[in-house]
């Protein structure tokens, strides 16, 4: 199918982006005023895109379901943002960032996109500092860096454990400036319900005002979907409660291919589940692995004693602890990539070494770091390095300054003091590398419809490196989309504003209204959450950290059956003319129930293990993931055909010109 | 500048007029305190204050304006602030996050205003009457006697004591708060807080002492 043309520019890899920018069509400033663009979502990608498009002169309409654009879930990103600045002089470069990202993604991402990402990464930092983002600084007043998993340099810029918040507030401030100027029209508490196509092109959306229930029509010359990832298909994830796949799924239903849905990142350091009431999981930043050491007891008797509360982890001697990441991966140790760290934790817990009541937790221990920093501080201050109490106090201060908010968060949730006793952590769904298929211009297979940030699939392959999501979101929004969208819009300067009183809008609106009344009139016996939780359990058990053909087939059948039951028996209270959260949720869960099946189908199709996708059938004797480059060096792009089980696979072959495809090793 | 209509300008106005009144309060206190030690000194200063044209025709109107301004502004602010939340809370635990004094400045303020009315009736109106209406001959030694005479009445003394207690409550929040209002919150803040705390207790307590002292010695 022609729509899978990835439109990668010709020429050497490092010149592609520059020459592409030089050759694509531009829209003149006078004509930009005649063009409307809809941006759905106001996370890092959506907010930065809205701001930049408005600065360029386009008329932007931005939508978010939250009560303010500042609440988008990018705000919760903790650790940092990568950029190849090489401020630390430790050998970093654009090429190395590009290489690390491709390798981290287990050679399943598109080379040209990733190189572009690495190229613009440095602009992001310059831009954010100019906007007043308060990044961490050293005593000389210059920017500080830390290191993240899967790399050997320190290239991560951060603002304590709240980097996402600071970057989003930066993008939000850029948006505010344009809202104040009237160039962005902001629609808070609005949800995109469907995409409207006119002559095969994206020409607007149907949106619903969540407060009044009013269904609205919005026309535009292009639609940008920046609605984030779909981790909530697992019910329990580190995503926000409202995070959903609906915008992405609606455009998929209208013709945009959905790529690599099974590529999901399970983050190794989250706070373990405490009970059935759990509504979401809380991440503990990967940056903690800079200083925390991960371990479980060596002896199963100690595990039992700890679970029964007879033994405290701090009492366990050094030789009775199994620092399994340091043991298995001496080169990267605790800083192996996320997929590797997660599987290793699961392996230990499956073997019976989990340290909490549910058996699903490992320790993340800061005692060594506290001592190390404490001694350093004592030395700097000319105090006694052998005074254990003093060293501990000084060390705790250093740790507090680096991770204070995370430690506080942990203490509030678990009711244990992580300065005194090791944290308990367990992997949880965190990020989805898969998403809407886009070409080099970030356009989906629907002309005029774009997908940016986590909503698209393009940059992270089968596994994302830490601190790269923020980088990608801002790169897409600030520096890529605003250029590439002009290439398409250059043909639209004479189109005039898009009317919404057309049969296409009528039909799309009617479909939305029908769906709403279907939910409200169903009067079934189970709540929306009942289905969401059931779906989540199927996904976690059968499409989680390790997958096999049998389980995936079961998952497909079970999700299909659950979906049918949902439409028969779901109970959505209230009306469609009020603030009705259950109704909004019903629409989102309906889409998850379709996506879940496609997810399982994609995972079933890909019989290799790569990155976050681990097929039990494809592993080395030591239990490491084993890729099958010969048969699977491609992007799976699924075309919608009604039932998710009937989706048609299109393959975008991945060609690596600059990089030699190797077995990923962090040993 | 949006003039006195801006919330911040009102804040400065409250703070500065308050600080001005604190200064006045201090000088009033010092003068009164002399009455405990020396009738002559008290009479001498009182005579000066009551007859010096600068004090009478410049400082006195400024002071009256300051008092009226501070009260009017306080009432306006209170009304505006109440309007900012027309539907109140069913349950509000203000004690969990702020002092009683800070939440009840209007109450202590009204008490002080009532006291001022009484105080004017007691001293200021007779004084004005004496000097500018009746135009009686000036007697530099009459002040002490007049004052002591007032404090013979135990009810008046009790009223004064209660009023000064409210003045203390008002000062406990208001004095240090005015520094914050004009933008002073830095490494000296702890010192300022300590000083204002001491001032807010010592000065009203001193006034109370003077009232009781004269009552007992009358």
């Amino acid at each position: 199918m022609a729509s899978l043309n990835s439109n990668i520019p010709k020429g050497p890899l490092s010149d592609k982006w520059t020459s592409h920018k030089n050759n694509i069509n531009l829209v003149s400033p006078a004509n930009k005023r005649l063009i409307d663009i809809i941006v759905v979502g106001t996370g890092l990608a959506g907010a930065s895109a809205s701001a930049t498009l408005a600065e360029l002169g386009y008329n932007v309409k931005s939508f978010c379901f939250q009560d303010s654009p500042r609440r988008a879930h990018s705000i919760a990103a903790q650790g940092g943002i990568n950029a190849a600045k090489n401020y630390q002089g430790d050998g970093d470069s654009t090429y190395r960032l590009f290489y690390d990202t491709i390798k981290g993604g287990d050679y399943r991402s598109r080379e040209a996109n990733v190189h572009r990402l690495a190229e613009v990464s440095t602009n992001i930092i310059d831009q954010c500092v100019a906007q007043g983002v308060p990044f961490a600084r050293d005593y000389g007043g210059l920017l500080d860096n830390r290191s993240f998993g899967g790399v050997l340099v320190s290239r991560t810029f951060y603002a304590k454990g709240q980097t996402g918040q600071q970057l989003l507030l930066g993008a939000y401030s850029a948006m505010n400036r344009q809202i104040g100027r009237g160039k962005i029209k902001m629609y808070n508490r609005h949800e995109m319900m469907d995409l409207v196509l006119v002559d095969g092109k994206a020409r607007g959306i149907i949106a619903r005002n969540l407060v009044t229930g009013q269904v609205e029509r919005h026309g535009a010359h292009a639609v940008v979907v920046a609605s984030g990832g779909y981790g909530n298909v697992f019910f329990l994830s580190t995503n926000a409660m409202g995070s959903n796949v609906s915008a992405g799924w609606k455009i998929h239903q209208k013709g945009a291919h959905f790529a690599n849905p099974c590529f999901t990142q399970i983050h190794p350091t989250c706070i373990p589940v405490s009970g059935d009431h759990q509504s979401k999981l809380t991440l503990m930043s990967e940056s903690l692995r800079n200083d925390g050491r991960i371990w479980v007891p060596k002896n199963i008797e100690d595990v039992k004693a700890i679970r029964e509360g007879k033994l405290s982890p701090t009492q366990l001697k050094e030789e009775d602890r199994d620092y399994y990441l340091e043991r298995r991966y001496p080169a990267f140790g605790n800083l192996v990539p996320r997929d590797v760290a997660s599987r290793a934790a699961k392996e230990r817990c499956d073997a019976g070494y989990g340290v909490n009541a549910t058996g699903e937790a490992v320790y993340l221990d800061f005692a060594a770091a506290i001592t190390r920093y404490g001694k350093e501080q004592a030395h700097v201050k000319g105090l006694d390095e052998n005074d254990a109490a003093l060293v501990k106090k000084l060390g705790q201060e250093v740790v507090r300054s680096k991770y204070g908010n995370l430690f506080q968060m942990y203490e509030k949730i678990v009711d244990q003091n992580p300065y005194e006793t090791p944290m308990m952590i367990y992997p949880a769904v965190h990020y989805t590398m898969g998403g809407v298929w886009v070409d080099y211009n970030l356009m989906t297979s629907i002309p005029g419809c774009y997908a940016i940030g986590e909503a698209n699939f393009s940059d992270h392959g089968a596994n994302r490196l830490g601190a790269s999501a923020l980088m990608q979101g801002l790169a897409d929004g600030y520096f890529v989309l605003p250029y590439t969208i002009g290439d398409y819009l250059a043909d639209d300067i004479r189109t005039g504003s898009i009317p919404t009183d057309t049969p296409e809008f009528d039909a799309a609106e009617k479909a939305v209204l029908d769906k709403i009344s279907l939910f409200l009139n169903n009067k079934g016996k189970h709540s929306v959450d009942y289905y969401h939780k059931k779906l989540g359990k199927i996904m976690w058990d059968k499409c989680g950290m390790s997958r096999n053909a049998e389980g995936l087939k079961e998952a497909m059948a079970e999700i299909k059956a659950l979906r049918e039951d949902f439409y028969k028996n779901v109970n959505v209270p209230g009306t469609d003319t009020e603030f009705n959260e259950q109704l909004a949720k019903a629409g989102r869960v309906a889409d998850f129930l379709e996506l879940g099946e496609l997810f399982a189908k994609d995972a079933l199709e890909r019989t290799e293990s790569c990155g976050g996708h681990f097929r039990e059938e494809s592993q080395t004797p030591e239990g490491e993931a084993m890729r099958d480059d010969e048969n699977f060096t491609f992007v799976s792009a699924w075309e919608y055909k009604g039932e998710p089980g009937d989706a048609v696979l299109h393959k975008e072959e991945l060609n690596y010109e600059e990089i030699e495809v190797k077995t990923r090793s962090y040993k | 500048m949006s003039g006195i209509n801006s919330s911040l300008a009102r804040k400065y106005a409250m703070a500065l007029s308050g600080l001005f009144l604190v200064v006045f309060l201090l000088q009033h206190f010092i003068i009164n305190l002399t009455s405990v030690f020396s009738e002559e000194v008290f009479n001498e200063i009182s005579h000066f204050m009551g007859n010096n044209p600068l004090v009478q025709f410049v400082l006195q109107p400024v002071l009256i304006f300051g008092v009226l301004f501070h009260f009017m502004m306080g009432f306006i602010l209170d009304i505006k602030n109440r309007k900012a939340r027309s539907q109140g809370y069913a349950q509000n635990n203000g004690a969990a996050n702020s002092s009683w004094m800070s939440r009840n400045m209007i109450l202590s303020g009204i008490t002080i205003l009532s006291f001022l009315v009484l105080h004017f009736i007691d001293f200021w109106f007779p004084e004005m009457n004496y000097k500018y209406v009746q135009i009686l001959p000036e007697d530099p030694n009459r002040y002490f006697e007049e004052m002591v005479h007032k404090f013979e009445n135990v009810i008046r003394v009790i009223t004064y004591v209660i009023s000064f207690f409210f003045l203390m409550l008002h000062l406990l929040h208001g004095f240090s708060s005015s520094f914050q209002s004009v933008g002073l919150n830095n490494k000296y803040t702890r010192g300022i807080k300590g000083f204002t705390l001491a001032f807010s207790i010592v000065v009203p307590a001193g006034f109370i002492f003077i009232a009781i002292f004269h009552h007992l010695n009358a």
């Binding site: 407060v211 409660m241 009431h277 600030y478 959450d529 209270p573 | 939340r85 969990a96």
Partner: protein
């Protein structure tokens, strides 16, 4: 744990609301407050009662969406947490818990416990930004060294999550802590100093127009702020505004 919940119910912005009592049983002390509300809502839905609307999203204390006034305090009795981070272990078995929306005329009720805080957005539109285009062609980030002390202070101010607890807690429904946090962040950084005068004047003007009350320095906002934003920021804004006014 068994609890009695007294919750504010209000169908929409224009209707009259009332407190309604709901009992809830078998609450685990490990639940977060919102998880307890989820359980209640699930029970209400199954009984055919309209579930209680409340704002929430990230549930890890950073998005600033959750906004409940619990037992007379914004975000409940615990300190430095949002409602979503408040855990049931902070309450006693058998306790009656009063839950109300954040109240201020500038925050009209949307439904039940959800309020409209777009006034905060409008204050930000008035000046909560540095006027720099997002072209990426600015100078190198390290060309502007910033004193670590100032950078840290700017960061502390910037951690405001815009939840509105300051307004809810203030007896005057004043938004000074929120506005001053933004003003301070930029006032402390060289990038923000260029427009500092206009920023503070415009943001305060918008704040006043939104109908927030005046600050009387009770300090309640600082105590209830889930991010511990300091009153120093308000003093800084007072200073900035004073200088800006004098400068004109």
């Amino acid at each position: 744990m068994n609890l009695t919940l007294k919750i504010w119910r209000q169908a929409n912005a224009t209707s009259k609301g009332e407190m309604v009592t709901y009992p809830i049983e078998n609450v685990s002390p490990d639940m977060s407050f919102l998880e307890m509300m989820d359980v209640l809502n699930e029970q209400l839905i199954n009984k055919g009662i309209d579930p209680i609307a409340f704002d929430h999203d990230c549930r890890e204390g950073i998005c600033g969406m959750c906004s409940m006034y619990i037992n007379g305090e914004a975000h409940g009795p615990d300190r430095l947490v949002t409602t979503c981070q408040l855990h049931m272990r902070k309450f006693k078995d058998g306790e009656t818990i009063t839950i109300e929306p954040f109240r201020a005329n500038a925050f009209p009720v949307v439904k039940d416990l959800a309020v409209d805080r777009s006034a905060f957005d409008r204050i930000q539109h008035a000046g909560g930004f540095v006027s720099v285009n997002t072209s990426g062609n600015t100078q190198d980030a390290n060309n502007i060294p910033i004193n670590k002390h100032d950078a840290d202070k700017a960061f502390d101010a910037a951690t405001c999550i815009g939840c509105g607890a300051c307004v809810a807690s203030c007896k005057n429904a004043s938004a000074m802590l929120f506005v001053s946090a933004k003003v301070s962040q930029y006032a402390l950084l060289p990038q923000g100093k260029v427009e500092a005068t206009d920023r503070v004047l415009n943001m305060v003007k918008q704040m006043d127009e939104e109908g927030f009350g005046n600050c009387t320095n009770t300090g309640a906002c600082e105590v209830e702020c889930p991010k511990g934003i300091s009153l120093e920021n308000i003093a800084r804004m007072n200073r900035e505004y004073l200088f800006a006014t004098v400068k004109g």
